[in-house]
């Protein structure tokens, strides 16, 4: 049989692909029908809570859980660290309590008495002067003739830039529920970015067969890279369920979540950039430092995007006694982008050049100059950059506005995924895939691809995901999900369709390869009047459903995206308050599966980026090592009134469409901090070195206010 067209349909021939499908689980979410792990409540379920270490670094001398155990309603209370064990940051779990209610468990966790030997700690990372045991020089990197580059420069511009540790602050905290069905079979509900392998970790912990574990995660309230691990709380939840024979729920409270369940490393750098008068970059040198917790941190990728500039970089990794970092949406990229784009923007300002011209001029130093040029020009049009740009320090009055821009890049190649599509005799279609929906739109992507392939309305597709019993799929990290699941779903739907056409063709007096499915009908391509309705055709299937299986298909995917963003802010130079006016985000991602969900990813990323540009920072107390803002009153996130207007433009031309599907979850979160930093510098007339750009940071940069 000749192959059905396996590639994606052309943009102008597609019915659903690249069009706007409202998120298929939207109604479930807004009505509360969508159930998250947090919502799972089982009969006779116990609640687990943890006693946390209050010190920046300490050795456990003794743990006495007897008072907790004695509290009414407590079923179990015990230490989970050994005597003599060293704890490397405040918030480390020391003891666990399981009780009849969450409130009793919380109260009991406070009653566990722990003796500590308090050890010296460090929570500071913003200064390059830290030395000794806390700082470790990493291997640097040299590329090209840096000295010649600086010698050829007309001007060398120096600056300091950086971003502090922020947390993931997932609105649904980490955690799981574990239930023993019998001694050998376990159900778990878990808030995870990789449901397909959750069963193995749990089975390993409990010493049972992975196929006897069923892990479920239908809906998920954000992970951003922090929900890949099988964590202490998952382990304790399983152990207590095994010990007590009762279902157990262990979801983190907000303070616990913000202290330990994920953070983005800090990165700071002193940068020198050599430039010619005409704006050409000749050399880059940077000395960076930063921390991702007790293990130190990884080095930012500098210079970012402008890879081909002659460069020399060194990095000092700083160990801090803070909750360990976890991959944060485009790991290290927002920090690298901020440091690079801010340094380049300062170079443009030093030369009195419009940054748009300066960046355009230097695009040959990037991997994909044509894409960036196209995207920058579109962004400039959407921002009216040419009409609105005012050079730095050329404004009067308290409230000044500013524009800034930034470029970014990402991979986004799809992961390995399996998928199955069944068609029943009554025409019902089910697509099943062991992937998860982090709020990103996986449900909708699978429905769109399947509907497109079978020529059906999106609403006709029943989507099953978030279950370890389904065909295994990869973890949702690195923007790999959409490529993996969309190509596997296409493959599976085509396999099922071939089988259906084989049954229908004889009825149409045609060969299967002459038939097509579209518009809810199965017909002969050359003579569309010879057709069967979808249900009629499926009536030929018989009692046993058809089942198609599919795998990730490299030909349907691609790798590597660009993106350009421009920010407009207003800065009150008397109060230091920065207000977002507008953020323009131009983004390519190859084949757009669903325009609405793809745009939503960009909107969400912009909001997250704005939030960490203006507000977010984990504040640690130097004396005790405690986290001072592990709640959402003090750990500030942007509210809807703080984000301004966001304009999203997806590159959806036949040329981009023809590349194949590429992930989009991470790239648009990379540029906002950099673009906003540049806009603030443009408005305020000075660079505010470190994010977040708070009144304190802005006024300090302006030299206003008294004291330090």
């Amino acid at each position: 049989m000749r192959e059905l067209n396996k590639g994606w349909p052309k943009l102008d021939e597609a019915t659903h692909l690249g069009k706007r499908t409202p998120r298929i689980d939207a109604a479930d979410k807004v009505t509360g029908r969508a159930k998250y792990t947090q919502d799972v409540n089982l009969d006779s379920m116990l609640h687990a809570k943890f006693t946390l270490c209050p010190h920046g670094r300490a050795r456990v001398q003794s743990v006495d859980a007897s008072a907790a155990q004695a509290l009414d309603g407590v079923v179990l209370a015990r230490a989970i660290v050994g005597e003599g064990e060293e704890l490397e940051h405040a918030g480390r779990e020391v003891a666990v309590v399981a009780a009849e209610s969450e409130e009793i468990a919380r109260e009991a966790a406070q009653l566990v008495r722990v003796e500590y030997e308090v050890l010296e700690h460090n929570v500071a990372d913003a200064s390059p002067d830290l030395a000794g045991e806390w700082a470790r020089e990493q291997r640097g990197r040299d590329q090209g003739d840096v000295d010649a580059g600086f010698a050829a420069a007309d001007v060398v511009v120096e600056g300091r830039y950086g971003a502090p540790i922020v947390t993931h602050c997932c609105l649904e905290p980490h955690g799981s529920v574990v239930e023993f069905v019998d001694e050998e079979h376990v159900n778990t509900w878990v808030s995870t970015q990789r449901i397909s392998s959750q069963d193995e970790d749990l089975a390993g912990e409990l010493g049972i067969q992975p196929e006897n574990v069923r892990a479920v995660c239908q809906h998920m309230g954000g992970g951003f890279g922090s929900k890949f691990q099988f964590d202490v709380w998952d382990r304790e939840c399983a152990r207590i369920a095994e010990e007590t024979g009762r279902p157990v729920k262990a979801m983190l409270d907000r303070d616990h979540e913000l202290m330990v369940a994920g953070s983005r490393p800090s990165a700071y750098a002193d940068v020198r950039v050599g430039v010619k008068k005409d704006g050409t970059i000749t050399a880059w040198e940077s000395r960076s430092w930063g921390s991702g917790g007790a293990g130190g941190g990884s080095s930012p990728r500098l210079p970012y995007v402008f890879d081909k500039v002659p460069q020399r970089r060194t990095h000092v990794s700083i160990r801090t006694n803070t909750g360990a970092s976890r991959p944060w949406r485009a790991p290290m990229s927002p920090q690298s982008c901020l440091i690079t784009m801010a340094a380049l923007d300062d170079a443009a300002a030093a030369l009195d050049l419009d940054p748009l011209d300066f960046f355009l001029k230097n695009l040959p130093f990037t991997e994909r100059p044509e894409v960036y040029e196209e995207e920058l020009l579109i962004a400039a049009r959407l921002m009216d950059w040419r009409g609105r740009f005012i050079p730095r320090a050329a404004q009067q009055g308290a409230v000044r506005r500013g524009l800034g821009l930034s470029l970014h890049t990402w991979g986004g190649y799809g992961h390995d995924s399996n998928c199955s599509t069944t068609i029943r005799g009554d025409g019902a279609v089910t697509v099943s895939c062991g992937t998860q929906d982090l709020g990103t739109g996986s449900h909708t992507v699978l429905a769109v691809v399947t509907a497109e392939t079978l020529g059906l309305p999106v609403a006709a597709i029943d989507v099953r995901i978030g279950d370890s019993l389904l065909p295994p799929s990869g973890g949702s990290g690195g923007s790999t999900t959409v490529g993996g699941i969309s190509s596997a779903a296409r493959d599976a739907a085509l396999d099922a369709l071939r089988q259906l056409l084989a049954r229908a063709a004889p009825e149409l007096n045609a060969a299967p390869e002459e038939c097509r499915a579209q518009g809810g009908r199965v017909f002969v391509a050359a003579a569309p009047e010879r057709s069967l309705g979808w249900t009629e055709a499926c009536g030929l299937i018989g009692p046993e459903a058809l089942s198609g299986s599919g795998r990730t298909d490299p030909e349907l995917m691609a790798d590597g995206v660009g993106g350009a963003q421009m920010a407009e802010v207003e800065v009150d130079v008397e109060t230091g308050v920065v207000a977002m006016k507008k953020l323009v985000a131009v983004q390519d991602c190859g084949t757009v599966v669903d325009l609405t969900t793809a745009e939503s990813q960009v909107y969400g990323a912009c909001i997250m980026g704005i939030s960490s540009a203006l507000f977010e920072e984990r504040v640690m107390d130097p004396t005790t090592g405690a986290c001072l803002n592990p709640n959402m009153a003090f750990y500030r996130l942007a509210g809807i009134g703080d984000v301004g207007e966001i304009v999203v433009h997806l590159m959806q031309t036949e040329a981009h469409h023809a590349r194949g599907v590429i992930g989009i979850g991470e790239p648009p979160v990379i540029s906002p901090i950099a673009a906003i930093s540049n806009a603030v510098a443009n408005a305020a007339g000075v660079r505010v070195p470190y994010a977040p750009f708070t009144p304190r940071a802005v006024l300090t940069a302006l030299g206003k206010g008294r004291g330090r």
Binding site: E103, I104, V577
Partner: protein, 325 residues
């Protein structure tokens, strides 16, 4: 939170009697938006919570002998919506309207706002009102960016958190307090004190005393509040100022300026002598604002608040005089 007993008395007398049964272990509950958060964080662990919701005297907004009396249990949303309050004290409405969350406006009460506990993150993490450890101030050695820049010579470094209090103090409001036997009156400013020791309170209410109402005087000075907030959504001001001006033929006869979030108490500055006899203009407002901050003693990391408070003060004075800042 720790388990507790709950009572809903219908009279002030009954509420006070319940309190006396367990004076150290009782707390009054108004809207609960502050109290319950503190209980959930185990910062306080009362054994008994006494709701004030069923006591009629604590509710309502009414005029009495020319004065305006606002019950302590009046939700902030009702204060904002009241034409009576708006006509008499724009500064108060503006301050209340700065609290952006509809949930808070519906639940939080006027009395609860005035009596909310400091937002000092050391206090809220269980290090006590003064934020001390081993006899040393954690604030001085640590993260002081939101702390006091005035009145901070003693051990109290926290900033008074209520953004309503400055407006009331500027307006010369009085408070009616039920002390178990009768009602006493005090100036709004006298509700606040700067504790010298950990056991002391930042309020001058005796244990078991109940705030009944706020009383705005008959006079209707020109007034305005200017807050500098970083977020447009829910947040506390970085610094704020409320100003009340007695104007006679366009000239200032009296001027009260109160700064919020800058000291352990609402910070009253009498700027009458600087402004009296002249119409209020940009220059006068600037001079008065500078004078108000002249003696500021910022900590290591909060010098920026001096600038912010000065701007808020200037803008509040100008706004009170009907001029844009």
């Amino acid at each position: 939170m720790k388990d507790f007993a709950y009572a809903v008395p219908a009279t002030l007398a009954r509420a006070a009697a319940l309190w006396r049964e367990a004076p150290d272990a009782s707390r009054f509950l108004a809207g609960g938006t502050d109290l319950l958060g503190m209980m959930k964080d185990f910062v306080i662990q009362p054994a008994r919570v006494i709701s004030l919701a069923a006591i009629p005297e604590l509710r309502g907004i009414r005029e009495e002998d020319g004065a305006l009396v606002i019950g302590a249990m009046t939700p902030l949303g009702d204060v904002i919506a009241s034409p009576l309050v708006r006509a008499r004290c724009p500064a108060l409405v503006q301050a209340a309207a700065g609290i952006k969350s509809p949930q808070l406006r519906n639940m939080a009460t006027l009395g609860g706002d005035l009596l909310q506990r400091p937002r000092c993150w050391y206090f809220r993490r269980g290090f006590g009102l003064l934020g001390m450890k081993d006899g040393k101030s954690l604030v001085l050695d640590g993260e002081d960016r939101f702390h006091a820049i005035l009145g901070n010579a003693g051990p109290a470094k926290f900033a008074s958190p209520s953004s309503i209090a400055p407006a009331l103090v500027a307006a010369g409001a009085e408070l009616l307090v039920w002390n178990g036997e009768g009602t006493r009156r005090m100036a709004a400013l006298d509700l606040y004190r700067t504790p010298e020791r950990e056991e002391e309170s930042e309020f001058s209410l005796a244990g078991g005393e109940i705030l009944v109402a706020v009383r705005l005087p008959a006079a209707r000075p020109a007034s305005a509040t200017c807050e500098v907030r970083q977020r447009k959504s829910l947040d506390w001001p970085v610094a704020a100022a409320s100003a009340c001006l007695d104007l006679e033929n366009g000239r200032v006869a009296g001027a009260r300026l109160v700064l919020g979030q800058v000291a352990p108490v609402p910070w009253l500055v009498d700027v009458t002598s600087l402004l009296a006899g002249k119409p209020l203009d940009e220059e006068g407002a600037k001079a008065a604002a500078e004078a108000a901050l002249k003696d500021a003693t910022p900590l290591a990391g909060n010098g920026y608040k001096v600038q912010v408070a000065e701007v808020a003060a200037r803008r509040a004075l100008l706004a009170a005089a009907g001029k844009a800042g």
